[in-house]
Amino acid sequence: MTDAAIAAEATPTTALDRVPVLSVHNLCIEVKTPDGERVELVRDVSFDVNEHEVLGLVGESGSGKSLTMLAVLGLLGSGLRIVSGSIRLRGQEITNLSFHEMQKIRGKAVSIIFQDPLTTLNPVLRVGKQVAEAIRLHNPDKGEAEIKARVIELLSLVGIPNPERRYSQFPNEFSGGMRQRVVIAMAMANEPDLLIADEPTTALDVTIQAQVMEVLAEVRARTGAAMVLITHDLGLVSEYADRLAVMYSGRIVEQAPSAELFASPRHPYTAGLIASLPQLERKVETLYSIPGFVPDPRKRPTGCAFAPRCAIANGRPLCLSQSPDLESIGANRAVACHYSAETAAWSTAYQAKLENVATETPLPVRKQGDGTTVLRASNLSKVFTVRGKGLQRSKLYALRNVSFDLKAGKTLGIVGESGSGKSTLARVLLRLAEAGGGEVYLNGSPLFSLRGRELRQRRRDLQVVFQDPYSSLDPRMKIHDVIAEPLRIAGSYSAERVNQLLEHVGLTAAAGQRRSPEFSGGQRQRIAIARSLALNPDVLILDEAVSALDVSIQAQIINLLKKLQQDLGLTYVFISHDLSVVRHICDEIAVMYLGRVIEYASTEAVFSTPAHPYTRGLLAAIPRIGMWPHGKGLLARGDLPNPMKPPSGCAFRTRCPMATALCAENEPVLSDHAETSHLSACHFALA
């Protein structure tokens, strides 16, 4: 049961409670494009949010979820406007209020938490002042001392240590997690009836996300505020929302209590999303992936907007001609699909297929999986010298004695949060950064000792795909030329080869004649992969290669990567912060913390018997479908320590729930505590 539900039970229901806190009816929002065209971005959206309730508003980018809630605050950007429909706050209609009249409601009855705490606070104003402002605006008769006392109370309420000192600091003196706490304090300052959290933890590390979500639940339980949680993260809403509304292309396609929605999705889109989500609890050979991509709102298909991607439409005329209305099915559920009755059968069939694959078919043999080592790193280290005030210099140990051994055709997952050193490792492997020590062997040749022509030859065997497919492709070049570039440099260009590469990644030769701005994020990532494959590399380094993609697209790319690995015998180093994805694609995992590998074992071993307290904390912090509450006692405490002054002994001890005096004295070595190949660096590692 969530905290909201507990609070709801404790409070006796009064008449007022039966008026929804927020009630949105048939809301339509339009944008006027520069060329005068009107495009509907939010279409006929209706939902209620009740007292104490958490409504999860789920959808991929461009679904209209954030716009809907900005409309509730009266903060739609220029060019956007509400065309029709009503928004009522506790029964009061607000769509006809002026900007000025809305000022009394914003921050008082409704407040919002935005995604990125690095940018939501004003960098040049003291943190305390920014929170104080929220109070002063709605309580003009409060004195300065009273306001300051309340700010300090709020700051300590959201778990900020030393609130008196923190009051007069600036935002850049706070970590990301602490800033988001400040933003929460600001939003809760006037005990609003409704709190809107727009991707409140998307920009944070997973251990910090767990802390922030907990604080949010605590402060809400205290005031009984209702909440709308806007997110793309199904795991997160499954844990924290009571009820869900799923949006697709500007419309709500399904509404249901959270548990029911995940147990038996009724809209094919919801069912597809859930099936395409890599989950910690299961490992499947191929993820379901919803084909195609979200339609451009200017060119929505007639009929059901989901029809071109729908698994059960089968081109039926009703789907193609008539947009389905959101109709209620049962007491609390509604769905917008003509054939929603068939979704359950599809899900069951899909599930059965998965189980068949898992039990009957042996995994396909990989071409090159002959057990030879392709990539070996031995004792890699990297130290950055950071300039401090004046002549001060501090050393940042970004990598400390990182070693691994990767066999042909396998995938090694490098997992860690920000500051773990995983991106530095990628740069060092690619020789984009010079290692401070150690050596990397690629097919047996020592990479760091090679020079000149030989180095260039060897380097071709090691390619990379980065996170951001937008900035890594030149927008002025034709895709054909983008992919041909490495071939031309190597002097082995042929148009057939480029077309073959395009085909490998699921694109047509015709696509090569267009330029990258015409492609969606997922397609660009396909192009980036095709380019990296041009010179027949042995090893691909995938640096957060699927992290920026929406769930349904992410599944497509993961499946593509798996298929390429099988067809071409590729070896992957998969660097990611997302453990569910890592579980899905990797054979072995190295978990990093402050520049060290603290656990290194097979994927199965890491997930079934994690040995290091940090790994256990990471696993516990990941929100997952249908599992709540989970091992809260395992969560890492507090923030990452200053990497320039790492703690003595075990670097994790400041956050470890198991730390003892020994941990402060001796640094644990990475070793196999139980005579297995499961390595971990902890004095009290669980075997």
Binding site: Q103, T119, L121, P123, V124, E133, L137
Partner: protein, 305 residues
Amino acid sequence: MAGFVIKRLLQAVLTVIGVITAAFFLTRLAGDPAALLLPPEATLEETQRLRAALGLDQPLFVQYLLFMGNALKGDFGMSLRESVPAMSLVLDRVPATLELALSSFAVGVGLAFILGILMRMTRHNWVRDLITWIALARQAIPVFSFGLVLILIFSIWLKWLPSYGRGTPAHLVLPALTLGTYELALYLRLFNSSLAAEQRNDYVRTAFAKGQGRIQVLLQHMLPNALLPLVTVAGINLGMLLGGTVVTETVFSWPGAGRLIVQSVSQRDYPVIVAGVFVISVMFVIINLIVDVLYGVLDPRVRLA
């Protein structure tokens, strides 16, 4: 902060030394002052005597060391035209230069500030367009013509203000307006675009979400951020105003240092040139230092880094 200031001071001293070194060698390259000082019919012997008296017969390097040694003591030599120390000639002109530079600077920045805010606040597009248009039109007119037009209107027709010289505040109005409004378009565009960039930031949305009004958000949140680029550019410009007011000084017969240096160049009065360059470069680095410190005060990210 103190360490930062000391570091900057050291850099400033090096800059000034570099500047006068360059000035010294450039003036020596420009030609022989002895030839200019003497009547054309002077004998070779007379010329050589004068060169010896001025120290010009020494090797260039020795001349430079002597010059630097004296400069350290504040002695830049005698003016070759008027028998007074070059430095005192320059220092006499400094107040006039400072007065003109600072007041025209205040006019430019002050007007940009007021008009920039007005442009953000107004609901009428034509107000915005009008302000932009006027500022651009002003920048399109050269300082020289604009100064003459002002003299024509305010001194000759209306007889409200004096047309030349320095003394009363009334003398200052026309030169300051001429020079100050020239910078206006630049400041205004800069201020406006940085305000527009701030508008897109998340903290602005947050401030609105707290229930703040448009004016409050503009003044309390956007302004402190939008001032940062303005301070940088305005600082550089103020430095340039110190040395580059020559045209204005000429039009209004303003007795400033810029005009003195230009006169001295045509007369090859090199001690005065070098002393003038020295004084202006010192003022320039002081202003830069002030800008840097001000930047730290305005932006905690700089101060704490």
